[in-house]
Amino acid sequence: MFGLDSKDSKLLLIVAVLALAAPFILNPFPAGSELAQFNAGYPDLMQRFVIFGIFAIGFNILFGLTGYLSFGHAAFLGVGSYSAVWMFKLLSMNVIPAIILSVIVAGLFSLLIGYVSLRRSGIYFSILTLAFAQMSFNLAYSVLTPITNGETGLQLTLDDPRVLGQTATADGSIPVTNLFGLEMRSTYELVLGAWNFQFNAGYYLSAVIMLASFYMAIRIFRSPFGLMLRAVKTNQTRLNYTGMNSRPYTLAAFVVSGMYAGLAGGLMASMDPLAGAERMQWTASGEVVLMTILGGAGTLLGPVLGAGFIKYFENIFSKINDNVLHGWFAFLPDGMEDLLVTIVHPFVGKGWHLTLGLLFMMVVIFLPGGLIEGGQRLGKLLRRKSAKQDDEDANKSASTAAE
C-alpha cells in the first residue's frame, strides 16, 4: 500500500484506524458515570494527542535515527505558531496557507540553526541547540515584541487586515479558523444511549495530517536516506571513510524534524489562534524529548505512543484529587485508606510532573528502548511461556516490525 511493504502497511492501517476512530475508542465510559473522567474523547485533548504526535514523530527522525539530541526543538514549534497566527491576522482565517507558511518558516529557521549547531556533535550539539532556543525565547519576550506581542502572546484582534477574508464577522466578533469554510471548532455530537461522542473538524484535520506525517516518516525510515541517518548514529567515522558526507545528511534530518515541529506549531495555532513565547522554552523542548524516549526513540510507533501517553496521563492525573482517591480506596479500613491517600497524593493532581520525572528516569535506567521495548519484552516473555522453544526468527521479526 502506497509503496510500503505489508508489515508497514499494517502498521499505518492500525494507526489510521485508531486515529480516525479515536472519538469512540477514547470515550469508553458513559457520560455522567463515575469513570467518565477517564474519557479522553473530547476535541481539545484529542487534538493535543495528534499534534504532539506530529512533533514527536519529527523529533524522532533527528534523535531516533541520527542520535543527535536537540534541546531546542520547541523553538521551531513556537516559530510555526507565530507564523500561522500572522497568516490569520494578515491573509485569511483559512488554515491551509497558515500551515504551509509555518512549515516553511520553521524549515528556514531550522536550516539556519542546524547549519551552525551541526558543526559540533555530542553534548556540544545539545548545548548549542539549547542556547539557540533560549536565545529565541528571550528575544520573543523582549525585542521582538512587535512580532510576538511579548508576554501577552500573539492574538487575533478586530482590526487585523485579513486581506482575503474579513476583518470581523457580521456580528462584530473575530472570525474563527476554518478549512475552506469548515470551521475548525465545529463539532458533531453523536448521542448513543448514555454515550456522547464528539467528532470535531479540527481534530480530523489534525489526525489526517498526522497520518500523512506518519506515512512520510515510514518512507524516510525505509529509504536509503534513513539508512544513512542510522549509519551516522552508529559510526560516523566509518560513514565518512565510506565516501559519504555525513553533515548534509544530518542537516537534512534536522530541517525535516524542524519542519515537523513547525507543522505541529501551525496546527496548534489553527486549533486555537494564539501563540506565546512559553511554547519555545527549553522545558518545552524537554517535553518532546520525554515523549520520544518514553515511547521508544528510533522506533516508528514509539513517539506517537509516547506523545499520547504523556498527554493522556497529564490530563487524567491533574484531575485526580483527594476525594477521588478516597473514592478509590474506600473499600479499605479507614487507617489504611488515609495512609494510601497520603502516599499517592504527591503524585497526582498538581504532582503530575513528579510522576512524569520519576517515570522518565525509570525508562532511561531500565528500559532505554521505551514502551515499545517494554512491549517487546513482554511479548517475548509470553511467547516463551506458551511455546518453550526459542524462536529466533520470530524475535527478529518483532524487532524489525518496531523499527
Binding site: 555530542g122 553534548i123 528571550n138 523582549s142 504532582g351 522518565f360
Partner: protein
C-alpha cells in the same frame, strides 16, 4: 568611568553564582566524565536549605501575655520562637536574624550527603552509557527534585532576608572619593562575592595542596594510569561529587537574600551554567571560574541603557551569543585542554 565600575560590580554577584555552579559541573565532568543536568537542582536545594532552617528557627509556641490586650480586649497571644525561649530573647532573635549564614553549617553535611547518594545511587550506573543517556537521566532527576521541592514549599518565591547587619548598601563611589551615591552596592552582594572567592580559593587549595586533591587532579588528567597505580580513584571521585554538590548548595544558600528562591531557579541557572562551562572549556576548573565572572559582567554591561539602545535586546542574548561564537571558533573553550570533547 563610574558607570563601568558599577556594571562590573553588578556583574560580580551573578558571575559568582555562575562560577560556583560551573565549578561544580566541571569537577563532576572532569572527574567522572558525567554531564550532570541535575546540578542546577543542587543549587536550588541549597537555597531551600536556607529556607528550611529559617523556618525551623521560627518554630514557635503561643503564650498569653496578660499585661497586654488586643483590640478586642482579650489577653494578647504572643508567638514565642523556641530559640528565644532556649537561648534568651536577644540571642534567639540574633539566631533568627542570622539564619542564612547559619544555614551554611546546616547545608554542608546535607549537600554532601545528597551528592554522595546521587552518585552512588544513580550516576554510578551511567559512567559507561552515552552522554545522551546521562543528560536524559539527570534531566529526569532534576525534574523530580524540583517537583519535590515544589510540593513542600509551593510554587511562589519565598523571601529569605539577609541579617540586618548586611541590609542596606555601601556607597562605593564615596569610598573611592567620587561623588556620593554614584555607585551604590548592597552589602550582601559584597558578602556573596567574597564568599564565592573564599569557596573557589578553598576548592583550588584543596586540589592543589592535599594528597587527595593531587590524586583527583591526576585522575582528571589520566584516569587509567592512576587506576593502574592501585589507587582507588572511584572512591575519591565519589567524594568529589559530594564536594561539588556542596559547592552548588552553598552558592544557593547565600544567593537566597539576592533572589527569593523558587523551585525552578535551578533550571534557570543550569542552562546558563552549562553555557559558562562550555565557554570556559569542558573540564577546565580555572576556565569555569573565569568564564563565570566574565559572562556575569558581560551580561551586566549588556543591560546598560547606552548599549541596549545601540543593539536592542542584546542583554537577553549576549551570553548565548558568546557561547555560540566560542563553540564555533574555539570548540575547546577559553582554557580547555586540547582533545577533551572537541567534536
Amino acid at each position: 568611568m563610574d558607570a563601568i565600575l558599577l556594571q562590573t560590580l553588578n556583574g560580580l554577584d551573578k558571575g559568582s553564582a555562575y562560577a560556583l555552579i560551573a565549578l561544580g559541573l566541571t569537577l563532576i565532568f572532569g572527574t567522572l566524565g558525567v554531564v550532570n543536568f541535575a546540578h542546577g537542582a543542587l543549587f536550588m536545594i541549597g537555597a531551600f536549605c536556607a529556607v528550611t532552617l529559617s523556618r525551623i528557627f521560627s518554630w514557635s509556641y503561643t503564650v498569653i501575655d496578660e499585661t497586654k490586650t488586643d483590640f478586642l480586649g482579650n489577653p494578647l497571644k504572643v508567638d514565642v520562637p523556641y530559640v528565644q525561649a532556649w537561648f534568651g530573647d536577644e540571642m534567639g532573635a540574633a539566631i533568627i536574624d542570622w539564619s542564612v549564614p547559619l544555614a551554611i553549617i546546616f547545608a554542608i553535611p546535607i549537600m554532601i550527603f545528597i551528592g554522595y547518594a546521587m552518585e552512588r545511587g544513580l550516576i554510578k550506573h551511567f559512567y559507561k552509557r552515552p552522554h545522551a543517556d546521562q543528560i536524559l537521566v539527570t534531566f529526569g532527576l532534576a525534574i523530580v527534585l524540583q517537583e519535590v521541592v515544589k510540593y513542600y514549599f509551593g510554587a511562589n518565591p519565598i523571601p529569605t532576608p539577609a541579617p540586618d547587619a548586611f541590609k542596606g548598601s555601601f556607597d562605593f563611589g564615596a569610598f573611592l572619593g567620587m561623588e556620593p551615591n554614584a555607585i551604590i552596592y548592597p552589602y550582601w552582594r559584597m558578602v556573596y562575592f567574597m564568599f564565592a572567592g573564599i569557596i573557589i580559593a578553598g576548592v583550588f587549595a584543596f586540589l592543589q595542596f592535599t594528597t587527595f586533591g593531587m590524586v583527583v587532579r591526576a585522575g582528571m588528567a589520566d584516569r587509567e594510569t592512576v587506576g593502574l597505580l592501585g589507587i582507588n580513584i572511584d572512591r575519591r571521585f565519589t567524594i568529589m561529587f559530594g564536594i561539588a554538590a556542596a559547592v552548588a548548595g552553598l552558592a544557593g544558600v547565600m544567593y537566597t537574600p539576592i533572589n527569593s528562591p523558587n523551585y525552578h531557579m535551578g533550571m534557570d541557572f543550569l542552562v546558563l551554567s552549562f553555557v559558562v562551562v562550555v565557554v570556559g572549556g569542558m573540564g577546565s576548573l580555572p576556565g569555569a571560574v573565569l568564564a563565570g565572572f566574565m559572562l556575569g559582567i558581560l551580561e551586566s554591561f549588556a543591560s546598560m541603557n547606552a548599549i541596549k539602545s545601540l543593539i536592542p535586546g542584546i542583554d537577553q542574548i549576549i551570553i548565548y551569543l558568546v557561547a555560540i561564537v566560542i563553540l564555533l571558533t574555539r570548540p575547546r573553550g577559553l582554557m580547555g585542554r586540547k582533545g577533551v570533547m572537541e567534536d
